[in-house]
């Protein structure tokens, strides 16, 4: 089913006309190419992804992206492996404690898929100034994990300036989130309601917003049912964690004493955002108590789910098939529910 050739939009990597897939790649990627097709595979293969920070979320996301066969991975993390990292960091071993995270993990990442190029940067100074702009320009997509909100806003702006799609994801105990700014994203969306023998594909464009705009989103346009569907208690819990972090120089809440403050932050965010009062006026106390105790911890099954959704969406954006997350996904590990809210998008 021929589709109109799309102009090289911002969200597809330059070099779709790169070298063809080898027979070996075709064998390794057989089962996934039968899902998303050869063209999508080539786009992934020609892409360079930048990942910031190598904790649980990134460990999982990287595994998935490397298995899928992206062209190149660049990882930046200035920190060293701690004992706690071993709980969700299966790229680390006991004897790696004290080493730079990226150095410890590099060869294990490469062995997941030798066809992928892996570059590691253990000096976080590259994340500021002109160096950072150069770094951004050299990649096709940026993926920032387990990062604080205020710096996410800064990085998002740099990406936007350089027309690079931006992903952010992380976990706080049993909760997790993904945010993305894909600029003006063009893609093909299969029409699932079309009759079986005539699969139609529709070309669509989705206009995204940067994080600072998204955070000013007002919920007043949603009905009670629409509000309920997207799980605002979890959304605002995460936004409250972000605000807390901002007020505490980057520190996450790490015991019950933080609950009161979290509660009051969440409640004022909910009120400012004009959430449907019939549904939610305050964040549930039990939820925030749990968060106060667990936000600073990472749990491997939650990392697997959030890292999985993150990689899946990033690959979707590269392939330009199927609508990606638009634009704020939250995961509640208490139930397993994952919902997406459109925040600040036109």
């Amino acid at each position: 089913m021929p589709v109109n050739d799309m102009e090289n939009s911002q969200s597809t990597p330059s070099g779709s006309n790169g070298p063809q897939l080898t027979e070996e790649e075709a064998s390794r990627y057989d089962r996934q190419m039968r899902l998303w097709g050869l063209e999508a595979q080539q786009r992934m293969r020609n892409a360079t992804i930048l990942v910031l920070r190598l904790k649980g979320t990134a460990t999982e996301a990287i595994k998935n992206m490397v298995l899928a066969g992206i062209g190149k991975l660049v990882i930046v993390d200035g920190e060293k492996v701690t004992e706690e990292d071993l709980g969700a960091g299966f790229l680390f071993r006991d004897e790696d404690v004290g080493k730079n995270r990226v150095d410890a993990a590099k060869s294990r990442i490469e062995s997941l898929n030798p066809l992928v190029t892996v570059e590691t940067i253990s000096n976080a100074s590259i994340l500021a100034g002109e160096q950072f702009e150069d770094l951004i320009r050299a990649v096709d997509v940026v993926c920032v994990t387990d990062w604080d909100r205020d710096d996410l806003i800064r990085i998002n702006a740099v990406c936007r300036r350089n027309k690079k799609p931006f992903y952010a994801g992380g976990t706080y105990g049993l909760l997790g989130y993904i945010f993305c700014d894909l600029l003006d994203h063009e893609f093909i969306s299969p029409d699932r309601s079309a009759p079986k023998d005539a699969p139609k594909s529709v070309k669509r464009t989705e206009i995204y917003s940067p994080l600072d705009i998204a955070l000013r989103h007002r919920w007043s346009t949603l009905t009670r049912r629409q509000t309920k569907e997207v799980n605002p208690a979890v959304v605002f819990s995460i936004l409250a964690i972000w605000q807390y972090q901002s007020l505490h120089s980057g520190e996450l809440p790490d015991n019950l004493s933080a609950a009161t403050e979290l509660q009051s932050i969440a409640n004022s965010l909910i009120s400012e955002a004009e959430v449907n009062k019939q549904f939610l006026t305050q964040a549930p106390e039990t939820v925030l108590n749990a968060i106060a105790n667990t936000a600073v911890h990472e749990f491997s099954p939650v990392c697997a789910i959030v890292g999985g959704m993150l990689a899946q969406d990033l690959l979707k954006a590269l392939a330009a098939r199927e609508p990606p997350i638009a634009n704020f996904f939250v995961f509640d590990g208490n139930t397993g529910a994952g919902t997406v809210t459109r925040m600040g998008m036109p």
């Binding site: 063809q20 089962r31 996934q32 004992e83 697997a304 139930t335």
Partner: protein, 631 residues
């Protein structure tokens, strides 16, 4: 043991000390080390389940490596269970892994074997084994949790063309389906003599081709491939065309003439039907693939060059099938038979020769019938029943499984959920509360029991009588799987040993009440304890004896309602917790109420339907919304 004391700090904080302290002693059985299994193993190792047994019968293939991340290219052909354990063990040195390269259906994996585990995690990929596992773990006091993940192949399109190729392969290279005996019998029974004569001629023609393919005499077999071609795609089609009635409302097939195709003068149809704008007589330019559902064929900018995704012209298909040189696939397969190493060759999608054959054969047939041909890539998927698979879905599902397993261990049953991955943008992960136990469930409405015995000495009748206890007057039929061993009118086998009836350790005897008054009893068999006295009966009955449920009699047969009662479609999708299948793109199907009560009267018949995958419920119209029928 891990030297890093704080490696579990995060998990402990999240699970709480009480649950966390239990993990090192929790014994987990993980069945399957493939797509889900690798991810699941990684998760439970990291979380800290102390004793994990991992079982898988399969070996590693290159196509696994895009998602089964515990395996590397150098591991291809080795045991999945063993390599998975080897790779995952270092993720947490505090965990003990016991990998088994074996088949869950083997006799040693009987009910007592399962009872050593606290929780069972299911990472299988097929319904039959899931059912085995389900049945084996439904027993008294067994805490069962099956996480069933079902991916159903979406390709119904063009299934027939690929399977026709497989059929041709079987006729030429497979088992000799000797028709003469059947034809003789049919003739004796007075069937239409003329038809039988035609069928005999058919069988003979096929036989002479089969013989030629296997012949070691060079004059005979150099022509065998061409003989095969002419029979299947020329003669047989011409014979079909003689039946004028068939073609009154159907477009007739075109016989393929070998010589004119190869010299380029063959005229397929008057309109010269082309495919993809290409004349089938000419060699195809390399056109990009269109996989059957999700293709994205951009002719100009993405010429693939991948040989599997080329569409072959008619001439190329013929050349693939039969040519004057040894490259032709029919010759290659014939050579394998002639070498004597193989007496028959069966289709296997990973056997390049058979895949080539099926591609050529099904394409030739398609061309004759005016159906679109398929690339080798597409044929492999259809005939090989390949289900596409990616790493992320496996990773997400496995993470969800562990979260639910932890809820189970906490006994937070009301907090448990079934979770669906779906295409809905606002709700990509949708949660559904678990259904209450369904008294009509095909698996757990039966009553299960365990009998320890020596099958070489225990008699069927004694065991059945013993199980029925006081109620041993009632009329029953006894089965092992689908086999009837005895019924009220036929009791010869009751005097025989279980072993002589091939009823052995690990298998189940099923006792079905012929009156439909009592529920079915399912007896699992295991071995006697080593200290069992020699002079005691060679079986030990469970104590107490199993008490099946008393069932209300079915209402008298009446005409079924024209439309089945439906409740509001707005309720969340009901999933039977004990059903083997979670349909990812669910369309709740209805049990067809057109089967009258008469058909369902015989419990034996109900049971046979059960085993074909239908979940039957008691009484028409009841619980229809709570059942998903498995096709």
């Amino acid at each position: 043991m891990s030297t890093a004391k704080a490696r579990s700090a995060h998990a402990r904080a999240i699970l709480g000390p009480e649950l966390y302290e239990r993990l090192p002693d929790t014994k987990v059985l993980l069945v399957g080390a493939g797509g889900i299994g690798c991810e699941l193993l990684k998760n439970i190792v990291l979380v800290g389940f102390g004793k994990i047994t991992l079982l898988d019968l399969d070996t590693i293939d290159l196509s696994n490596l895009n998602r089964q991340f515990l395996f590397k290219k150098k591991d291809v052909k080795q045991s999945k269970a063993l390599i998975a354990a080897q790779t995952a063990a270092p993720f947490n040195p505090n965990v003990t892994l016991t990998p088994i390269h074996g088949n869950i259906k083997e006799p040693q994996y009987d009910i007592p074997w399962y009872q050593q585990f606290d929780i069972v995690l299911n990472a299988l990929d097929n319904l039959v084994t899931r059912t085995t596992l389900n049945v084996s773990t439904v027993s008294p006091n067994q805490r069962q949790r099956h996480f069933q993940f079902a991916q159903f192949a979406q390709h119904q399109v063009n299934q027939s063309t690929a399977s026709s190729g497989v059929k041709i392969a079987r006729q030429l290279f497979g088992e000799d389906e000797d028709a003469t005996g059947e034809l003789d019998a049919a003739e004796q029974q007075g069937e239409n003599a003329q038809e039988i004569a035609t069928l005999r001629k058919e069988a003979q023609a096929f036989n002479s081709v089969r013989t030629a393919l296997r012949s070691t005499s060079p004059e005979v077999n150099c022509n065998a491939a061409k003989l095969a071609f002419q029979k299947v795609f020329d003669t047989d089609i011409k014979n079909l065309l003689l039946m004028a009635d068939m073609w009154k409302s159907r477009s007739p097939p075109v016989p393929l003439d070998f010589d004119s195709i190869l010299d380029g003068t063959f005229n397929l149809r008057d309109e010269d039907k082309t495919q993809n704008g290409v004349n089938p007589n000419q060699a195809a330019a390399a056109t990009p693939s269109t996989s059957s559902v999700n293709g994205n064929g951009k002719a100009a900018s993405s010429v693939t060059g991948l040989k599997d995704q080329r569409r072959l012209s008619l001439k190329e298909n013929v050349e693939l099938f039969v040519a004057r040189h040894v490259q032709a696939i029919t010759n290659r397969l014939a050579a394998r038979l002639q070498s004597g190493n193989e007496t028959t060759i069966a289709f296997d999608k990973d056997d390049e020769d058979t895949l080539d054959f099926v591609t050529a054969a099904s394409n030739l047939r398609s061309t004759a019938y005016g159906i679109n041909t398929q690339t080798r890539w597409e044929v492999k998927e259809m005939a090989g029943n390949i289900i596409p698979a990616i790493a992320t879905t496996n990773a997400i599902v496995s993470g969800l499984i562990v979260l639910q397993a932890l809820q189970l261990l906490r006994r937070n049953y009301t907090g448990m959920r079934n979770v669906h991955l779906q295409y809905k943008p606002a709700v990509p992960l949708s949660t559904i509360t678990l259904s209450k136990p369904n008294p009509g469930c095909g698996v757990c409405r039966d009553t299960y029991a365990l009998v320890l015995c020596d099958p070489s000495r225990a008699l069927l009748g004694d065991v059945v009588k013993g199980i029925l206890g006081e109620n041993n007057e009632r009329e029953v039929s006894v089965y092992e799987d689908k086999r009837v061993l005895s019924d009220p009118d036929w009791d010869d086998n009751l005097e025989r040993t279980l072993e002589s009836l091939n009823v052995t350790r690990g298998k189940f005897l099923t006792i079905v009440d012929e009156e439909g008054e009592w529920g079915t009893i399912s007896i699992g068999l295991s071995i006697l304890p080593p200290d069992h006295p020699v002079d005691s009966p060679p079986y030990i009955l469970p104590s107490p004896l199993p008490q099946p449920q008393r069932k209300p009699k079915l209402p008298p047969a009446e005409s079924t309602p024209a439309t089945p009662p439906r409740t509001s479609r707005k309720r969340s999708l009901p999933i039977d917790m004990n059903s083997d299948v979670i349909d990812l793109a669910p369309t709740p199907k209805r049990l067809k109420p057109t089967t009258t009560s008469n058909d369902l009267e015989s419990p034996s018949k109900r049971r046979r339907l059960d085993q074909d995958g239908l979940l039957l419920v008691d009484g028409p119209g009841e619980l229809l919304d709570d059942v998903i029928v498995i096709d």
